[in-house]
């Protein structure tokens, strides 16, 4: 069966050109980049080249790029590294309610160790308010971390304006740009950011390799101590093949940014139009304009997300849901709750994210099938306009957690 993959925000297939450089590195470039002999020097050179490619994708200096094993590691490093380094200065961190778990759980961990964290709310479209941010800043604030674009609902935050406010106060500013890279132009020189996280597997590179941009001269503690790799900032023998692959993926992303954005936007709009016109009682989550070019996120009333996913999977379509079931937890998506959806509604979400190989025919096929799937599931549901959710049941359930 032909599969239609619409979960590019979760991960992307590796571009054949990326596979190629990775395989050749894997086969012919095994030297330890820290070694003095020929094999080591060759490996080191290929890493330097990849660092330049990644740097170029965000307009950084190559010496500001530090490879990590994932976006999550980059996020953890940024938060913990700045928190630990600046403990003497203050113990307050500002972030948002809609961050990725790599940020949220890290902040929660720090809360157990004497730090205080403000989680900024967002409006119904997922945007933070600059006023809220200004009000949250205290003299103990040592770090602000606000994501560039949200992975679930696709909303793009005003990073440049946030950066300006934060910079004026002399506070360190981190942004999780894992979803932004390859989807929005990023220029660290223009954005007033000190730290920025990226991950290769969201831009047709391999899983298990990411990077943290650290503005030149910014003091930060290490997260992984040990050997002198990454200019003594991140220990562990360098993952040469994946670094080289990330470099290639970043190069391709930079080169084709415009084209990819236009392609995704067109198909995203086709998808949103099709779904909202042909299916009743549907809500588009996230900001209508300020959203990732490939992101469409819907809530279908009266039904639950995993049953939609499963129905799609059975006919060859891969999508995702902020629902309970995707994560094995019973909690509905913290992002959908943060934009004000009731928990019952938040369980019925479907995220479809478009990639460079998605076609207009794919979108037509998905919309056509989705119409029937939603109908069938709704017919099966005990809830509908006439039998609305009993709010008593509701409250009970919330306590339940």
């Amino acid at each position: 069966m032909k599969r239609i993959y619409l979960d590019h925000a979760a991960t992307t297939p590796v571009d054949p050109a990326v596979v190629e450089v990775m395989v050749s590195s894997l086969k012919d470039n095994f030297g330890n980049p820290s070694s003095v002999y020929a094999e080591g020097r060759t490996a080191k050179k290929s890493i330097d080249a990849a660092r330049a490619q990644v740097a170029k994708a965000i307009n950084a200096d190559p010496r500001e790029i530090f490879f990590t094993a994932s976006g999550s590691e980059a996020d953890n490093w940024a938060i913990k590294g700045i928190a630990m380094k600046n403990q003497a200065k203050g113990n307050h961190i500002i972030t948002t309610k809609i961050e990725h778990h790599a940020i949220l759980h890290t902040c929660q961990y720090l809360e157990k160790h004497g730090f205080e964290v403000t989680y900024l709310p967002v409006d119904k479209d997922g945007l933070i308010s600059l006023e809220d941010l200004r009000n949250a800043i205290r003299k103990e604030t040592i770090l602000v971390s606000i994501m560039f674009a949200n992975n679930e609902i696709g909303t793009i935050e005003p990073i440049r304006e946030i950066g300006k406010i934060v910079k004026e106060k002399g506070i360190v500013f981190h942004t999780d740009a894992v979803q932004a890279l390859g989807n929005i132009p990023i220029d660290v020189k223009d954005l007033n950011v000190d730290l920025l996280s990226v991950s290769a597997h969201k831009i047709y590179g391999p899983k298990g390799i990411g990077a943290l941009y650290i503005r030149k001269g910014l003091p930060i503690d290490n997260l992984i101590h040990g050997g002198g790799q990454e200019r003594k900032k991140r220990a562990g023998t360098e993952n040469t093949p994946e670094i080289v692959a990330f470099g290639k993926a970043a190069e391709l992303a930079t080169e084709h940014l415009e084209t990819n954005i236009n392609h995704m936007k067109t198909l995203r709009d086709q998808l949103i139009k099709g779904v909202t016109e042909r299916i009743p009682k549907v809500r588009l989550n996230g900001h209508p304009q300020k959203r990732l070019p490939g992101n469409a996120n819907f809530c279908f009333e009266y039904i639950e997300g995993e049953s939609i996913l499963l129905s799609l999977d059975i006919i060859g379509i891969a999508g995702s849901s902020g629902s309970a079931c995707t994560s094995g937890s019973l909690d509905p998506s913290h992002v959908l709750l943060a934009i004000g959806l009731p928990a019952g509604m938040a369980h019925g979400s479907l995220r479809l994210t478009i990639g460079k190989s998605t076609t207009p025919e794919d979108i037509d096929y998905v919309v056509d099938n989705l119409v029937g799937i939603i109908q069938r599931l709704r017919a099966m549901s005990p809830i509908d306009a006439d039998n609305p959710i009993d709010s008593a049941v509701f409250d009970k359930a919330d306590h339940h957690h």
Binding site: Y302, I303, E304, G305, E306, S307, L310, S311, I314, S323, A324, C325, G328, S329, L330, P332, P342, A343, G344, M345, H347, A379, M380, S381, P382, I383, I389, V393, F394, K396, A397, D398, H400, H401
Partner: protein
Amino acid sequence: MEYTEKVIENFSCPKHVGELEDANGVGQVGSPACGDIMKIFLKINDEDIIENASFKTFGCGAAVASSSMATDMIIGKSIEEAGKLKNSDVVDALGGLPDVKIHCSVLAAEAIQAAIQDYKTKKA
């Protein structure tokens, strides 16, 4: 989520979906906040035998499949027997459920108990 063939089958072509017009025992458990609501309809005859059963479910694949399987398992049984249906019986009949989905089978057993209770209350 790794589902068995049986689960997929019961999800794709569930038996006994919908409301029973002549139901005399109805039970609902779960909540949308938890991501599952199960409503079970029973038509119970004078000998306390379940003549027919149906369900409406808001929930994941496992919830739908559990509802389908559970209703199918109790038709023809006495309410005493049906009330003893254990969630593990449903899991076994489905060829297993992923760990995080076991609670769906629990809901199915509970919904049946609730529907039987409803019937008893009304009758009393």
